[in-house]
Symmetry: D2
Subunit: 333 residues, 4 copies
Amino acid sequence: MNTFGQLLRLTTFGESHGPAIGGVLDGMPSGLKIDFDAVSAMMARRRPNSSAASTSRREADEPEFLSGIFNGVTTGTPIAFVIKNTDMRSADYSAISQAFRPCHADYTYEVKYGPHRDYRGGGRASARETAVRVVAGALAMQALRSYGVEVSAHVGSIGPLGADRKNEWAGFIERVRSAGDTVGGTVECEITGLPAGVGEPLFGKLQACLAAAMMSIPAAKGFEYGMGFEGSTMLGSEAMDRFNSDFTTATNHSGGIQGGISNGMPVTMRVAFKPVATLMRELPTVDREGRPVTIPPRGRHDVCVVPRAVPVVEAMAALVALDAILLNRSTRL
Amino acid sequence: MNTFGQLLRLTTFGESHGPAIGGVLDGMPSGLKIDFDAVSAMMARRRPNSSAASTSRREADEPEFLSGIFNGVTTGTPIAFVIKNTDMRSADYSAISQAFRPCHADYTYEVKYGPHRDYRGGGRASARETAVRVVAGALAMQALRSYGVEVSAHVGSIGPLGADRKNEWAGFIERVRSAGDTVGGTVECEITGLPAGVGEPLFGKLQACLAAAMMSIPAAKGFEYGMGFEGSTMLGSEAMDRFNSDFTTATNHSGGIQGGISNGMPVTMRVAFKPVATLMRELPTVDREGRPVTIPPRGRHDVCVVPRAVPVVEAMAALVALDAILLNRSTRL
Amino acid sequence: MNTFGQLLRLTTFGESHGPAIGGVLDGMPSGLKIDFDAVSAMMARRRPNSSAASTSRREADEPEFLSGIFNGVTTGTPIAFVIKNTDMRSADYSAISQAFRPCHADYTYEVKYGPHRDYRGGGRASARETAVRVVAGALAMQALRSYGVEVSAHVGSIGPLGADRKNEWAGFIERVRSAGDTVGGTVECEITGLPAGVGEPLFGKLQACLAAAMMSIPAAKGFEYGMGFEGSTMLGSEAMDRFNSDFTTATNHSGGIQGGISNGMPVTMRVAFKPVATLMRELPTVDREGRPVTIPPRGRHDVCVVPRAVPVVEAMAALVALDAILLNRSTRL
Amino acid sequence: MNTFGQLLRLTTFGESHGPAIGGVLDGMPSGLKIDFDAVSAMMARRRPNSSAASTSRREADEPEFLSGIFNGVTTGTPIAFVIKNTDMRSADYSAISQAFRPCHADYTYEVKYGPHRDYRGGGRASARETAVRVVAGALAMQALRSYGVEVSAHVGSIGPLGADRKNEWAGFIERVRSAGDTVGGTVECEITGLPAGVGEPLFGKLQACLAAAMMSIPAAKGFEYGMGFEGSTMLGSEAMDRFNSDFTTATNHSGGIQGGISNGMPVTMRVAFKPVATLMRELPTVDREGRPVTIPPRGRHDVCVVPRAVPVVEAMAALVALDAILLNRSTRL
């Protein structure tokens, strides 16, 4: 289940502390001239940096493309790429080989796979795998742009502070860091330029695919589109989007989708991320036998992953949108 | 894209006003003795009734099983079933054949499929298709029960009124009805008894599958699990679930899932539903040429679909949980 | 695994002696005006008749369409259809409920599914399920025709008698019938009008999809395309297809496919069918405990299924060809 | 469509003259201790060598494993591996960038994907991609062995010379080489130790999956199992496999499969390969405008690929068998 998509399929691989992570993007149409600088720029937005919110781990996130691109243009064959893991301080993780960190996948992987899991740095469950999504998403965004479709996300809130208190975010994050704590937030995303008619009915509804995409991102706890949860509190008369004579709508409570199919308005969505579970404090937990142990505050982790999640959300939205556009080509005789 | 699931696959078909709707449930393990009364009971919970919240359409929702069950026991072959559409007042819908109802799929289906869509009663996009999900879900729930897994949902809120104001719900719905309006709400769902280790990493995460399942339900606008959107406002130290010595956790902010894999705690989730877009009022909209028209307040519709959505949410959760259990059988050598 | 295809997906259901068999054809493009008489005509070619080669079972093979067609035109939603089992003489099969017929699926189904299998008339493994394939294939052939693609099959040999001894077939079959025996044969199939460029590389090669399609037909034992097995005996210089200046080839040893992709020449293939395993003789076999038993010569069976397999081969080829055409639409930017 | 399998899924990538080829094997159960020497040994059997039948290209076919294996044991996460292309003499192929070699995929790729194809050495359509299948198959064979299942193939015929004239093969190949020609042949494969009950009905029949697997191998022209095409010439009384009291059968015309499901007898099959289309002669063909051109006898190619196809056939059979075993785990409640 490491493959995502129907016609545009991303298969990913790799553990946080293995030799490399990477992916195979199959189904990318032929004829797209790749802007490698744009890929790097999107990767840079995900990369941890010196800002207050981020880990100090240096990741050499430059993907090496192995196939599917000839003379800078996609050929229609699978695009494979590898990102080497160059900053692997395995020694950091020896302490957790015998203990289960709370709110991590250590315990669930061990129950599922047995004692053979790669415990170093979260292994396969590490958020490092999102780098692969961003590479693939950067390619998808370029294809979308050639169709006039743009995907754009931004931070919607940090902890309890919404966009109206955006100027308080940096100070808040700094206080959380000082306390050795972490904090969550939300990311808002919009797909514009998507023509009406894209998305498949029933189980292939655009919102179902987007929800699956977003909820597969580590730390995501909720997804909503259009008016979202707030819509559950509204009256039908309030939530109504009236048609204009050009079939746009006067409002966009619907979030650009009706019956799972795009209606030509911007597709809007919001994703909630929990605070990272690794605190810069000693953490009481249990070992493999259930005995109480304490995990020291090691490793390099984000105080708040939300800013780095922005390009990941864009990447997943782009993969869904491009896949849906391709699927829609088989709709009519 | 009318098929849902990996090893347990539900394929559905049918339009609101065609001869029948139905489904094929493929991959149900052999050896399950079916309790047909329990199927009927679950169908009855979805069926519109005389309560204030429901439409007055009478639906003969008894499924006729055509295959896959021999002497009352599943054989492992596909279970097909058909639900006849017996109360089809097609005349009701002639007015909308040339107009696009606001916040419905009329326009998007026409753009996608061309002029050949079945415009009667929403056609394929009608919420009537959820009856098929409930039949399949009722079978999945029986299989789950044989493994000790229970799925249970209930209304979480009606409009702005949460569970703490539950006694006001009926009165509120009655006032909305009197105003010719509709209202949304939320459904909460819990899967208990799911052993740890169920769910696939990355794109097959339990929460990703549940999100796709729930967001494929008509009128669903949002999905969250565990602490959900509220988690985005919390500190890591607040959101932490400490392990007990038996690997249960002292709290369940995580909602029973870590890294996409169940941890043995109850899996908790919440789904937001928008208010139904068909009001009992004249609705201004546009016709196929974009000219302003008014649609009369006809048809039979729910003031609030949320109570009827409860068994649909259970059904989708059950399909996901059973599929995940089956998938997990191939995890280890 | 009762679903076939990628974008055009046929899901089938039903046992030989249950209430009905049927299918759901999902992904058929919208806008195809259905010729129901052509469906019936193709069904009639598969139906057992009074000819020497066929069983005397009367099958009411008229499909009832339940969805996906509105005013005679496909809408793009799933096309479900049901074929009732009206001539079910269950009494005929009581003798075999406790014994395993040789060269049938009785034993393998019991090992796989446990004692819950529907033993009547082969249950799910009955060749009766091929009626469903023919209905779906008839629809696919109509869509193909609108693209200028034709699928056509015919009997290639009966037992050891090839096409050069075609006039001896009827007499040979009559002698086999008199002896209470059965005989196999081959079916040859050709897809013409398929444009170059259809088919996906690697695992989606046209020949791989066609092989899977044909080898899924009951009693099929072999598949070859183009020069087939004979090609294994040839020199490269003999097998070469030279290009003409219009990119047709002077010969067609390749069978219309290069690298899994159509080259514009006719796609040619051949399928081998074994003789039916139910003889009109007493058959020594074993019961569920492995004890020797004898099965009396009952049931209604074909002396030679090959003539009836012709429309089934056409149906499967048509499903593959249409699916490949739809898949090819996402190849280029 | 570069992914093969249901629960055990191999995704492959790479062109003949790009930086690397490789694959991602997803769904391999956790807990398998990998014998890397056995992988190398199987790769060596596929590698071109100094024997008369092979090309003189030196391929550095050692896979580098990037993920999914920790301390030599599979973890259940995707196993990615890369095989570098080290002996890329691109200059060899400049002549064919503007011409379509006869009986190659040059023309069909260009029609399908447009002018962006990687024309060097067949690009994606090169038989070099089979190295990836062998790596994955070698892992699958190790997992199968832990279940007592063995997969074994061998050359069945070279050109017109069957196994009874095996001692003439080397001389025949040498004469073909001297003539600048090539020759085809057949490979026979057997799966032993497969328990009864493995394989899915209808479209997931074991023989359908095996046929798709084999027909996806470059140069394969035909597939048969059990008595195969010869069975089409037989009488039912001749083809009958009588049960013994232990449910083995006295003969194995069926080839170990009934109704798509294994019956516990060896699964036997045969694959036909055409002669390689690249002769060591000048070849008349056409260029991209359809004008006659001559391609000089360059490149390094096999006189007969059949010996090198043996491990490829084993690999594909092993992938199918292991996948079927995993799928079968979800059959019963």
